[in-house]
Subunit: 262 residues, 2 copies
């Protein structure tokens, strides 16, 4: 099965310095996963042109089909995503007429002039499509480059989410022909290291992704969340396979003296 | 001023798929920032050998002085950080005697045998130093490679934090000869786009890092957190410069009709 690779890029010193927890990356990655993509990598870079351009270029080289970024679209001097994307793609950065209109309308409504800083948000790589941002001002940048769909969203979480959903519903063309499903359950009283050989066996036997997430303490109070997930073109077959795998693992957990919850 | 670059690598499908928010990366990055490092990049990759090895190699090529990873040190088949690090450095993976002893002691205490899955946590690249993990089982891997300090911590947050602090206190050799300081305040009633030219001016004038974090809505209810930060060898001079910059920005915010808080 060909992988439907996707990547997430987060732009902002506040994320890279650890000041802000990168919830945007998780939200975007979760949405991409739910659509059947395999998110290959999440990269967070600083507000610097070289760094932004490199991050996009590296994602291109890893053959991502969809790349979604967040951050760096605002009016300040350190908002450099549009320019970084222009460098990465080799496309000229230009004033996008429709983007300018979207921005002008918002400021007009409140009688505020369109300064250079505000106009800045309308500059996009040539050929980009601005996607309206209903929560804030800066439109998102949608660009198809060498068959790769690129969406650059603002960094403010509510704005990012607004734009992301509009993108998924109305713009996005790449749709994996697979369905992604997952199921989880919790086992108390079995150490991760004791369960490990059965996880390995289950992965081989059912060709699924199985991961144990330790929630308690390995030795004194072991508690494991067991996640079983997979993608397939055949949803019914996938469902059956996941159910069988979960049953197998629950049985092994009970044999090891564990208590199965959920 | 030479930059004290550091990088953070997170290993785990649960992070890349968006299932888990990457709080580990923020915790590590914040700690590195507090020590005077500039975190250049945070990379999250899947539990795959090639991906892990690439992530480390790419950090080497960006001249990071310190690289801290989290995840992939456990007993299961998909815990591959030690092997990925061995590939990235070209060092053989071998059973580390001291790591094995640390692990054996923990399991002995509760009368549980040392299975292959449990022994797996003692494999490290040749020359690595195991750092004890007081919260869990898997020791961290500390390796100095071509002058770069590498720390691989477990993915369970409490274990990562335990090991990270032990590393900073007792192992870490690279210490930036700079002090990092930051100050923040909040401005209500000034749009980020209106404040942008003064931020730009302040950055130039005081040679500091200034960032506005929009917390409200740009147009109807603007609320900005303004962060002023910098590093310097001379702490007193840095303090003065930050104070002057904050005063300058607060004055501009008031002139624009804003209310300054904090």
């Amino acid at each position: 099965m060909a992988e439907w690779w996707a990547e997430v890029i987060t732009i902002g010193n506040e994320v890279v310095s650890g000041r802000t927890v990168n919830t945007n990356a998780s939200t975007i990655a979760r949405r991409l996963t739910s659509l059947g993509f395999t998110v290959r990598r999440i990269t967070a870079v600083r507000d610097e042109l070289d760094e932004i351009a490199s991050a996009f270029r590296e994602s291109f080289s890893r053959r991502a089909k969809v790349i979604i970024s967040s951050g760096g679209l605002g009016p300040t001097y350190d908002d450099k995503t549009a320019e970084g994307l222009a460098i990465a793609t080799g496309l000229p950065l230009e004033l996008n007429g429709r983007a300018l209109q979207m921005i002008a309308e918002k400021y007009n409504k409140i009688g505020v002039p369109l300064t250079e800083e505000r106009k800045k948000m309308a500059y996009m790589p040539k050929g980009a499509d601005p996607i309206p941002n209903e929560v804030g001002i800066a439109p998102a940048i949608y660009l198809v480059f060498n068959g790769v769909e690129i969406l650059a969203t603002p960094g403010v979480p509510r704005e990012m989410e607004d734009v992301l959903e509009r993108f998924v519903r109305s713009y996005m063309r790449t749709r994996p022909d697979v369905k992604y499903l997952e199921e989880s359950f919790v086992v108390a009283g079995v150490m991760e290291s004791a369960f490990a050989p059965y996880v390995k066996e289950a992965v081989k036997r059912f060709d699924l992704y199985v991961k144990t997430h330790p929630k308690g303490l390995e030795v004194s109070n072991p508690l494991l969340e067991v996640q079983v997930a997979g993608s397939s073109r055949d949803e019914e077959e996938l469902k059956r396979r996941i159910t069988e795998c979960v049953e197998f693992l629950k049985r092994k957990a009970l044999e090891l003296g564990g208590v199965v919850k959920g």
